[in-house]
């Protein structure tokens, strides 16, 4: 897991993505720009974060969940 550690906490790159989403919905391109990460890392990371219930996706836009927001308070 690149974005979530074995203990369930987001890694540095996962945290950057979640923080980028705290202000609202975002496309992978917008998140990559905001988080300063390569787009391929963001796309793969969002799959993991969504699989772990930390983000949700609708029509290509991502949103942080309550569980995700709790981890980057």
């Amino acid at each position: 897991m690149a974005c979530i550690s074995p203990d369930g906490k987001p890694t540095e790159s996962g945290t950057k993505m979640l923080r980028a989403l705290k202000s609202g919905l975002g496309s992978p391109e917008e998140i990559a720009k905001d988080a300063g990460l390569p787009l391929f890392r963001v796309r793969s990371g969002l799959r993991e974060l969504t699989g772990a219930g930390l983000t949700t996706e609708a029509s290509g836009k991502y949103e942080i969940t309550e569980k995700g927001a709790e981890l980057v308070k």
Partner: protein, 216 residues
């Protein structure tokens, strides 16, 4: 008729879509489609902790900033494990001071290697040869290079190919032998006799109607 036991997979070809994959890497699970919109250099090496491969990884890391300026990502591959990749990358950094910033596919199943024709049994039945696949933002294969196990790759040539492909895409031209950015480019040859006559009057530097160059 004897049953064909060995699965025959065709080699990928220039101009065709790059074979899709989802694979574990040193940066997590990646899919080919994660790179959509960027140029991608997918390259294989025979094995971690081997001398020629180590020199190549250092060289790839050194051209990485230049590649990024051109919108190109790097993705390595070998049939070693993720743990092996992590240990090798850390060792390279510790011993040489060079950080390896790009992911490496751990293709233990050989699924990606087989899809891309990276295993050449005449060289090795268990290791990938030194392949380079240059894949464009639409995920079409634009260049394929194969090197034997004993010959390390030339990074200048890889950068030169990227520059040539991007120049071709931007300007609808071709590039001559040994072309470098700033050199004259080749104007596509005319398709009709009328166009051939006109070509010679268009102010290009021409050897004859079929070989004309221009400055960009």
């Amino acid at each position: 008729m004897e049953e064909l036991k060995e699965q025959v997979t065709s080699m990928p070809r220039i101009g065709e879509p790059a074979p899709a994959f989802e694979a574990p890497t040193s940066h997590g699970v990646l899919k080919l489609e994660d790179f959509k919109g960027s140029w991608l250099i997918l390259f294989s090496h025979p094995a971690d902790f081997t001398p020629v491969c180590t020199t190549e990884f250092i060289a790839f890391a050194q051209i990485y900033p230049e590649l990024q300026k051109r919108g190109v990502e790097l993705l390595g591959l070998s049939v070693d494990s993720v743990s092996s990749h992590i240990a090798w990358v850390r060792n390279v950094e510790e011993k040489t001071g060079t950080e390896i910033p790009f992911p490496i596919i751990a293709d233990l199943s050989k699924e990606v290697s087989m899809a891309y024709g990276m295993i050449h049994p005449g060289q090795s039945k268990t290791e990938t040869v030194r392949c380079v696949f240059i894949i464009d933002p639409n995920q079409i294969i634009r260049t394929i290079l194969y090197y034997p196990l004993t010959t390390g790759r030339n990074m200048d040539e890889i950068l030169r190919i990227i520059d040539a492909l991007q120049t071709t895409d931007k300007n609808a031209v071709a590039t001559p032998a040994n072309w470098r950015p700033g050199d004259m480019v080749v104007v596509p040859p005319p398709n009709t006799q009328e166009m051939a006559e006109e070509r010679l009057k268009q102010g290009y530097e021409c050897v004859d109607w079929y070989l004309c160059k221009k400055k960009l």
